[in-house]
């Protein structure tokens, strides 16, 4: 986080400009995406959290136990915590939250999936709640750290989805005062705040009196606003602005890569040409990622050679597999039968061009990333790949994916812990949900991988779990199902007036509980 020089000052209004889409609902139970996580971190809290070493630490739950068979977890809640509407935090409240997440009417996706193995909940006592599982879940605690499973006031939830969406009620250091659509959410200090996570810098209410949470989709305007002092913090900072900011001393940079998967290009192994591992490897070898990353990100991102974010302790880096080697790529294609080239220089086989359909979601990729794809397109062309980049809005992009109309795709996935591997590479993830959504874009369909993932999910022993995930990663990486690029970028730029801000070690959302501004 940013360094706190001097004594914190109470009061003041912090202005935050988000480049992410404006949430359609401030309650992250509904749906469950990153923009919701960003803002809800300020007013909602989870049962547990994670520290910067990846250890689970207490938050609303002060302690927890796992039954020996791994099928029951008991969480003891902090005493004396109340939601901002006065409702006390108790076992019943947690139960209500779980029920809310699992209610189809809520329309939860992220939280709903994370609770897939929870069979039921029981109130052991007023402040002890028991989760009864259908299967052991090694990822349960990690899942519970996420903002999408934060605990909200049952009274609030009872108001109905629409009202709750407009102003969810939590236990956090701030509470939602108002939300002007298309413009801003105003958050004010929760004066009765008592429940900081274990790794917070102070106790008691937050220093800031107010946060104005704005939505400024245009990155140039966002940075200009920060420079002009009209906002104090921006997210989704562009590499060039980060470099520019780091040169001066009026803006500080907070780099907080997201957990879960790395940013990567997944190669669709279910259909030609990438059903041939040789072609997959050739594509990966033909792509000059290193040069692209260094020129486009100007040192703000480091190359990844892993399926997992570098934040994850279990991440396996395999630089040996992902080096740029055009000559090797040529050979691989030759041996895969793509020997001829057409007049434009693309490889052809049986009259078909070696075409790679690459739909790009404009909503999910920052411009630098789209430029990166363009550069990969240019280098892969030398080897003879015709990479067709098609920018799409989110709906069309999901539709294209659902129709299996892609060969390569880059999709972010944020989840705390290595359990993300199960979501991304388990063959169950190939079958689309009713909405057409699926996560296994590489369409890895390997029983060995499935078996390893299933085992890892039930194991809670850290060492054993890590070993299993290492095996999975190696298998996937060696199968050339994906081309890792870099960690999921998550850069905040803060005016140097802001002290004490940090990113949560859970999903790297910023928290302004410890933050303060100098007196006017």
């Amino acid at each position: 986080g940013t360094d706190a020089g001097g004594t914190p000052v109470k009061g003041g209004t912090l202005s935050y400009a988000s480049g992410d889409a404006e949430p359609t609902c401030l309650d992250p139970h509904v749906g469950g995406n990153y923009p919701q996580a960003l803002v809800s971190t300020q007013y909602l809290e989870s049962l547990v959290s994670r520290d910067s070493n990846g250890q689970i630490i207490p938050w609303l739950a002060k302690s927890w136990t796992e039954s020996p068979d791994g099928l029951a977890w008991e969480f003891t809640l902090k005493d004396g915590v109340t939601f901002t509407d006065g409702t006390p935090l108790d076992a019943a409240a947690v139960q209500a939250n779980v029920a809310h997440l699992r209610d189809p009417k809520t329309g939860s996706s992220t939280g709903y999936l994370a609770l897939a193995k929870v069979a039921s909940t029981e109130a052991v006592s007023a402040n002890v709640v028991r989760f009864v599982l259908s299967q052991p879940d090694g990822a349960l605690l990690e899942s519970l750290t996420q903002p999408w499973l934060a605990i909200e006031s049952p009274t609030g939830l009872a108001r109905g989805v629409d009202e709750n969406c407009a102003a969810p009620v939590g236990t956090g250091p701030f509470q939602v005062e108002s939300w002007e659509k298309q413009d801003s959410v105003v958050l004010v200090r929760n004066a009765g705040y008592t429940s900081p996570p274990a790794d917070a810098d102070h106790t008691g209410p937050a220093y800031l009196a107010k946060i104005i949470w704005r939505f400024i989709p245009d990155s140039a305007s966002r940075f200009a606003a920060l420079q002009a002092g009209d906002v104090d913090v921006i997210d989704n900072a562009q590499p060039d602005t980060i470099v520019q900011a780091e040169k001066g001393d009026t803006i500080t940079h907070l780099d907080a890569p997201r957990p879960g998967a790395s940013n990567r290009i997944e190669l669709n192994s279910s259909r030609p040409p990438f059903n041939d591992p040789l072609v997959r490897e050739a594509f990966i070898r033909s792509a000059n990622v290193d040069d692209a990353v260094s020129s486009l990100f100007q040192g703000t991102a480091t190359r990844s050679y892993s399926a997992l974010s570098s934040v994850e302790a279990t991440a396996v880096q395999r630089p040996d597999l992902f080096g740029y080697d055009a000559r090797a790529a040529d050979k691989l294609l030759d041996s895969a039968g793509w020997t001829a080239r057409d007049s434009a220089g693309y490889r052809v086989k049986d009259g078909a061009r070696l075409t790679v359909q690459f739909p790009v979601s404009t909503n999910q990729s920052i411009p630098a990333e789209q430029s990166l794809f363009e550069q990969l397109q240019a280098t892969a062309k030398k080897t003879g790949f015709d990479v067709v980049l098609t920018p799409m809005d989110l709906s069309s992009w999901y539709t294209a994916l659902g129709e299996n109309g892609y060969d390569a795709v880059s999709a972010p996935y944020t989840k705390v812990g290595p359990d993300v591997l199960r979501i991304l590479f388990d063959s169950a993830g190939i079958v689309p949900a009713p909405s057409g959504y699926f996560a296994n874009h590489a369409q890895v369909n390997d029983p060995a991988v499935d078996a390893l993932l299933a085992e890892a999910a039930t194991v809670t022993d850290a060492g054993k779990r890590a070993a299993l995930y290492t095996d999975v990663q190696n298998k996937v990486l060696e199968g050339f199902y994906l081309l890792p690029l870099y960690d999921q970028q998550n850069h905040y730029l803060l005016s140097s007036r802001v002290s004490g801000a940090r990113a949560m070690p859970t999903v790297s959302t910023p928290t302004f509980y410890d933050a303060w501004l100098p007196a006017e």
Partner: protein
């Protein structure tokens, strides 16, 4: 007069009906499922039950014709329905957004008028050089894309000079750049029109007559010429409204201003049918009102129209 009014009203109702119909079916054609939009947008891993529940609740499981008729029925009673994505009634939502956009558009129209007037007046009195500079400026201004101009203004006034905020801020300062962005190209168009008609007026015999009575240059301009020059520009203001709304989409996005334009862009991309139809209806009503207003303004400004 009552006959004219009735015809006008019937015309307005027809336009509104057609606009609503076109929009309704056009949105149907867009790939993507509104039920998903309701459940937190595309990519949400919703359960089939949830989808079914939502479809039933919003009547999306009905045949299209039924939905269409239901939509028309609601519109006829002034009910714009409920936003899928924003979980809010459309009418109050849009009313909230309307203010910002109207303010922006109105200010831009005023500023554009001022610019155009000043430029037209100046370029018709300063001789050849002023003429060429004036007409050149107008043609260039009219050719400026909003997004490029906005960027240039931000770089100049916010980044380099640091005078004005690059985003909307509570005070009037935050309005300056968005208004300029919208006003400059419009001023280019209005200016061209005004200069032409100003010249026509200045060369007309009635101005010569006024001079022969001893009227000075200023009197001639203010008492005679500008009024004539403003007539064609007034008749353009209905068109200007439409172009300002189009421009607002870009300007509101760049300057992070809440408003109809931005709402519309968001709503269209997430297939939020009620909001899109709502915005389109409001814009159509605005357009119709604007044409009535321009007619009225012309009627006031031009007594020749009053005679019949």
């Amino acid at each position: 007069m009552p006959g004219l009014l009735a015809a006008r009203l019937a015309g307005a109702v027809f336009v509104l009906w057609a606009v609503a119909t076109i929009t309704f079916f056009a949105i149907r054609l867009i790939p993507g499922d509104p039920a998903e939009a309701i459940l937190g947008g595309p990519g949400s891993q919703t359960s089939p039950e949830a989808l079914a529940a939502v479809r039933a609740r919003y009547g999306l499981d009905q045949p299209v014709v039924v939905q269409y008729l239901a939509q028309l029925g609601r519109l006829a009673t002034g009910d714009l329905g409920r936003s899928y994505a924003l979980r809010q009634d459309v009418a109050p939502l849009l009313v909230g957004q309307l203010g910002g956009t109207l303010l922006l558009a109105a200010l831009a129209l005023v500023v554009a008028w001022l610019f155009a007037l000043v430029l037209a007046t100046w370029s018709t009195r300063g001789g050849r050089f002023a003429w060429y500079l004036g007409s050149g400026l107008e043609i260039v201004a009219a050719a400026l894309p909003h997004f490029w101009l906005a960027t240039a203004l931000i770089v100049l006034f916010s980044v380099w000079l640091g005078w004005l905020p690059p985003i909307s801020t509570p005070g009037p300062a935050g309005l300056v750049l968005p208004v300029l962005t919208l006003a400059v190209p419009l001023a280019g168009f209005l200016g061209q029109i005004m200069r032409e008609s100003l010249l026509t007026a200045l060369e007309s015999p009635f101005v010569l007559s006024a001079r022969a009575r001893g009227e000075g240059d200023r009197g001639v301009r203010w008492i005679h010429a500008l009024r004539h020059a403003s007539l064609p520009a007034i008749s353009l203001s209905g068109w200007a409204f439409g172009s300002l709304i189009s421009g607002a989409v870009v300007v509101e996005t760049i300057f992070a201003r809440p408003g109809l334009g931005r709402t519309m862009l968001n709503a269209v991309t997430v297939r939020d049918v009620p909001v899109v139809i709502g915005v389109v209806m409001i814009v159509a009503v605005g357009y119709i009102l604007m044409t009535v207003l321009t007619d009225l303004a012309q009627w006031i400004a031009d007594p020749r129209l009053r005679r019949r």
